[in-house]
Structures are given as structure tokens and as C-alpha cells.
């Protein structure tokens, strides 16, 4: 926030930096952001820290965490830390692509349904409810099982295509309320086309809302991906946090007391998704004062 020398204090803070004023002071937002950035940073610089390929047998089997193997090794002697780092990268990829795609489709469906109204709204709404009711995991299982070779990207796309109803419902309600505002009518009698109105007038108002929807989709995509990987329908080559947990369970890491094999992946997922939710609540407080006044 450019701290121009503030003119007499009585000048009402303009709408835009009032948001920044609150955002920087909201501790829920700060905590969430720090956690996410930490893991992102770890994911980015991770590969530089380890020189072991994830699946090679590089150390003694079942070794507890040590200076050599920070997260210890699996029953086969694979380095858990390397797997963890690559798994982290896969998780962020799924979050961004899956969450992003889910938000994108949700936004499109939500905007068109909210703005057009009438029959179009009714049909799109029905489609949304149908996709919502069908347990998305069932569909994912079928698709994932069908594909012989599965990459993380393919998995993210599937998740994106089945997780959009949540976003669509929220965006539709928001567009509906904005559409009835007079400035939309004013735009129409200024000769503006509906596409220009949607993206020029309505969308900017919802930037905050779109961002919050993306955060929820991001978290949801990560959780769904972890569940899919855990059941064994995750990416066939490469590794992911869900796959790590699956292998840990498969090779009875519990009985052998090898906690270092299954604890880190879970912590990472819970921390990232949890931080996302907390950030979302923080943003919610910033955008509507009612929650802030608690």
C-alpha cells in the first residue's frame, strides 16, 4: 500500500486500500498464507536438497530419520524425504490444475446461469444438482480405472471436471444478486453487450469471491486426489502423498512402527488444506464486516 503522506486524517480511506488495511491485520489470513508459502517453498527448492531418485533403494531398509535420510527410509530402503518432496509438488499441481479447472467451469456455469436466468438457468441448475448428487469419487474411480497410464495432470483434469458444481452454485447466487443491481441495466442502455457486461461490470465485483472459491476448490482437489491415490487409482508413474500413505499401509509400516513413512504426507496435506480454509475465513472476515465485529 503506497503510504502517500495521508492528507488530513478525516479523509475517508478509499474503498481499495481499506481492503488492504484489513487484510494485513487479519491474523487468520496471515497464518494461512505463511503455512502455504512455506510448503510451496519447500516443494520448489526440494529437489535441490536431495540427490536420490525417489524409487531407488538407496539406504538401509526401515531406517528411522537420521542426518543422512531426513525422513528415514521405507521397508525397501527408499529415501522417504525425496518421495515426500515429489509428492508435495504433485499435490500443488493437482491443487492448481484441479482447483483451477473446477473454479473455471464453475464460474462459467455460474455466470451464464446467474445472468441469463429463465430456462437456461433452470437447465444449468439441474445439471449442477445432478453432478453434485452423483458421488464424484465413483465417477473418478471409473475413469481412473479405465486409463492404462495415469499422470498427475490427467488426474487433476478429472478432478476439475467433477468438482465444479460447488463453485457453480456459489457463483450463480452471487451473479443473481449483482444482476438485479441498477448498474447492470444502466450498462445495457449504454449499448453494452451481455458478455461485456458480465466480464466488464459483474466479474470485477466478484474478484474477492472468485478467489475464495478457488481456495476452497484448491483444498478440495488435494483431498480428492489424496483419496484417489490412496485407493490405488493415482498416477501410475511418479509418486504422490496419497500413494506414499497407501504404500505405507500396504507394507504394514504401522506394525513395524515406521511412523516416519506415513506421518509426513498426512501432515503436509492437512497443513496445506487447513491453511487454505483458514485463509478463506480470514478473507471472509475482511470482505464482510459482520463477521469481523464478532
Amino acid at each position: 500500500m503506497t503510504t502517500a503522506t495521508a492528507p488530513p486524517p478525516a479523509v475517508a480511506i478509499k474503498k481499495r486500500n481499506e481492503f488492504l488495511y484489513f487484510a494485513l491485520r487479519n491474523n487468520k489470513l496471515r497464518v494461512g498464507l505463511i503455512v502455504v508459502l512455506l510448503f510451496l517453498f519447500l516443494a520448489l527448492i526440494g529437489p535441490l536438497l536431495t540427490d536420490y531418485p525417489p524409487n531407488d533403494y538407496v539406504g538401509p531398509p526401515g531406517a528411522p530419520p537420521s542426518s543422512e535420510f531426513w525422513f528415514g527410509t521405507t521397508t525397501f530402503g527408499q529415501d522417504v524425504f525425496t518421495q515426500f518432496i515429489l509428492g508435495l509438488r504433485a499435490t500443488f499441481l493437482v491443487g492448481v490444475v484441479g482447483g483451477g479447472l473446477g473454479t473455471l467451469i464453475g464460474v462459467l456455469v455460474g455466470f451464464v446461469a446467474g445472468y441469463r436466468g429463465g430456462i437456461v438457468d433452470e437447465l444449468l441448475n439441474m445439471l449442477t444438482n445432478i453432478v453434485l448428487v452423483i458421488p464424484s469419487l465413483a465417477v473418478l474411480l471409473i475413469i481412473a480405472a479405465y486409463l492404462e497410464v495415469r499422470g498427475v495432470l490427467a488426474e487433476s483434469v478429472f478432478i476439475g471436471f467433477t468438482s465444479w458444481p460447488w463453485a457453480a452454485r456459489a457463483i450463480r447466487a452471487q451473479t443473481f444478486s449483482l444482476r438485479s443491481r441498477d448498474f447492470v441495466d444502466l450498462a445495457r442502455i449504454s449499448g453494452m453487450g451481455s458478455m461485456k457486461i458480465i466480464f466488464g461490470e459483474i466479474a470485477p465485483n466478484m474478484m474477492s469471491y472468485l478467489f475464495m472459491t478457488f481456495i476452497l476448490q484448491f483444498g478440495g482437489a488435494i483431498l480428492t486426489a489424496a483419496t484417489l491415490d490412496f485407493i490405488g487409482l493415482g498416477p501410475t508413474q511418479g509418486t504422490s502423498l496419497g500413494l506414499m500413505m497407501n504404500n505405507a499401509l500396504l507394507w504394514s509400516a504401522l506394525h513395524l512402527g515406521m511412523w516416519w513413512w506415513f506421518v509426513p504426507p498426512g501432515v503436509a496435506i492437512t497443513a496445506i488444506v487447513g491453511a487454505m480454509y483458514i485463509m478463506n475465513v480470514g478473507l471472509d472476515e475482511v470482505f464482510n464486516p459482520k463477521l469481523r465485529e464478532m
Binding site: L137, A138, Y146, E148, L254, T270, Y277, M294
Partner: protein
């Protein structure tokens, strides 16, 4: 009112039809040929494999033209015959699922209902003051962000292995025969507890957060201010706010069902709890497509049924929707 139900029913039927069609596609799309995988396990001589393939193909009706298979699938569906499981040949799929379903209901129903009730009470309680909101609620965020299976693994490890209090696999101890005797039921409960606890805790977090936001809006609503202005005690204001805040949580329950089913599958796999989830894992590992097809059918029917029931419950509970349909006066 009738028109509203008619429309709702129409949507559910359409959804059911779509879901079943997707479900029917499972065996057709799966990689590899189901009959081959089954036969390869039987390690027979070449020519007998030849004969058996013909027999099984006809048995599973794979030789008929596709659309005929589709129609026969629907016909069989209405007779409750979902074909025969490849993995547990000759037992029919329906029977296999039938003895898995009670475990699921026994696990899911209490977990969902209990977590829904306590989660909402906790969310309402946490919204009382800034202090509570900042201390108790982050717990809710962490819980709802926890992958179901990871919490399952942690509980299995901590309470199961380290503390050794609870068994961590199977529906009941293998030493016992299923009977109504008390030791069997006790073992059933001890095996049931950890999966239940992990499902309960994750869902509990979700409801608490949802309720916290809802109740804050209700406490800010006009009728709350009016009651406060007339000197009504905090308890009455909160009771009304809670009642109105819990209504959207009912529809929330319906919408969450799909997600909860996914979570249950993962948890059952952790504890190899003999529900449909574990069944699905085995079906995938053994490429038993008919069993898989049957499992999903049950899940879809279950979720649709639950959604319909919840819709009805919502209309009975929230007067606004009832009069909204008949068109309020003036």
C-alpha cells in the same frame, strides 16, 4: 406442493438414469478382458481355456450386441440380479454386497448423525465469543482438512498398535463365528470403534465451521435485534438463531453425502473393515468389474435415496419453503 415434489422426483429419476448408465459402462471400459483375468488365475491347459472362455463369455452375456447388453442390464437390475462376481465366482454380486452393506450402515449412519449433531452444537458454542472463536475453531479447520484415511492410519497406529487397545483390521476377530452371542457383538464393537472415530472427527470439523458462519449471520438478523431490543435473554436469542442456522446445515448434509461416501471408502481400506469400500478395493485389484458395477450402484442408490429423504425432511422442518410454494398471501 405436489408440483414441487414432482419436479424434485423428476430430477432424481433423471440423475438415477444417468448414474446407472455411467455405472453400466464400467465393465465395458475396463482395460483387459475380465474373462481372461479369471481364467489366467485358474491356470488350466490351453485348450480347456479355449472352451471356458466361450462358456464364460456367454455366461456374462458379453457376446451380445452392446445395446442388447444394456437392455438386459436394466432388466436384470429390476430383478435385483447384478450378475456374478468374477473374483468370488459363483456367488452373485448382489449377495456379496448384501453382507457388506450392514457394516456400512452400522458405520456410516452413527458417524454422520452424531458428528452432524455435535459438530453443529460445537460450532454454535464456539461462535459465542471472540476468544472461543479463535481457540476452538481452528481445531475445526484442521479436522476438516485432514484426509480421512490419514486420520484412520494415525488412530490405528496410536490406539491400535502403540496403545494396543483396539483391533485395527477386519469387522470382527477371526477367531469368532458370526452369531448373536455377546462376545461376538463385543468384538464387533471393538473393531467398529476406530473407523467410526476417524470418520466422526473429520466430519465433526466440517459441521462446526459451517455452523459458526451460519449462526453469526442469524445473530445479526433483524429478528435477533428485535428480540434483544425487547429485552429477551441471550439464551432465547441464541436458541432461535441456532434453530434457523441449522436448517441450511440439513441441505449441507445432503450435499456432503457424496464426499462422505468417498471418505468412508478410504477409511474402510485402512481398517480393512468389510464394508463396500473394502469390497471396491478388492474388486479393483482383481478387476472384478461386475462387483465394482454393483458396488457403485448401491452407492448411487444410497446417496440419491438419502438426498431425497433429506429434501423431504427440510420441507417439513422449514415453514418458509412450505408457504413459499403455495405463494404467500399478497
Amino acid at each position: 406442493m405436489r408440483r414441487y415434489f414432482g419436479r424434485k422426483l423428476f430430477i432424481y429419476l433423471l440423475t438415477f438414469f444417468l448414474a446407472v448408465t455411467i455405472d453400466w459402462l464400467i465393465p465395458r471400459f475396463m482395460p483387459g478382458d475380465p474373462v481372461q483375468t479369471m481364467l489366467s488365475r485358474a491356470s488350466m491347459r490351453a485348450e480347456s481355456v479355449e472352451a471356458m472362455t466361450g462358456f464364460y463369455t456367454r455366461a456374462f452375456g458379453l457376446d451380445l450386441p452392446v445395446w442388447q447388453q444394456y437392455l438386459s442390464f436394466w432388466r436384470a437390475l429390476f430383478h435385483g440380479d447384478l450378475g456374478v462376481s468374477i473374483f468370488l465366482f459363483p456367488t452373485p454380486v448382489t449377495e456379496v454386497i448384501m453382507n457388506a452393506v450392514p457394516y456400512d450402515i452400522f458405520l456410516l449412519l452413527p458417524a454422520i448423525l452424531l458428528s452432524w449433531y455435535t459438530g453443529n452444537k460445537f460450532g454454535a458454542y464456539a461462535a459465542r465469543s471472540q476468544y472461543l472463536d479463535n481457540t476452538l475453531l481452528p481445531v475445526g479447520y484442521i479436522l476438516t482438512a485432514t484426509p480421512y484415511m490419514w486420520l484412520g492410519i494415525l488412530l490405528a497406529w496410536a490406539l491400535g498398535i502403540v496403545a494396543g487397545i483396539f483391533p485395527i483390521s477386519g469387522g470382527y476377530s477371526y477367531a469368532l463365528e458370526p452369531s448373536w452371542s455377546w462376545p461376538f457383538i463385543a468384538s464387533l464393537l471393538r473393531h467398529w470403534f476406530l473407523p467410526f472415530l476417524s470418520l466422526f472427527m473429520v466430519m465433526f470439523g466440517g459441521w462446526a465451521i459451517g455452523m459458526r458462519n451460519m449462526i453469526i449471520y442469524e445473530l445479526e438478523a433483524d429478528y435477533s435485534h428485535y428480540l434483544e431490543a425487547l429485552g429477551a435473554p441471550r439464551s432465547l436469542v441464541r436458541r432461535y438463531a441456532f434453530r434457523n442456522a441449522i436448517l441450511p446445515q440439513i441441505t449441507g448434509l445432503a450435499l456432503q453425502l457424496g464426499v462422505i461416501v468417498a471418505g468412508a471408502l478410504a477409511t474402510e481400506i485402512v481398517f480393512s473393515y468389510p464394508g463396500i469400500g473394502y469390497l471396491i478395493l478388492q474388486a479393483i485389484q482383481n478387476q472384478d468389474f461386475f462387483l465394482l458395477q454393483g458396488c457403485f450402484l448401491f452407492i448411487i442408490i444410497g446417496v440419491l435415496l438419502a438426498n431425497f429423504i433429506i429434501d423431504i425432511v427440510y420441507i417439513l422442518v422449514d415453514p418458509r419453503t412450505r408457504s413459499g410454494m403455495q405463494g404467500a398471501t399478497a
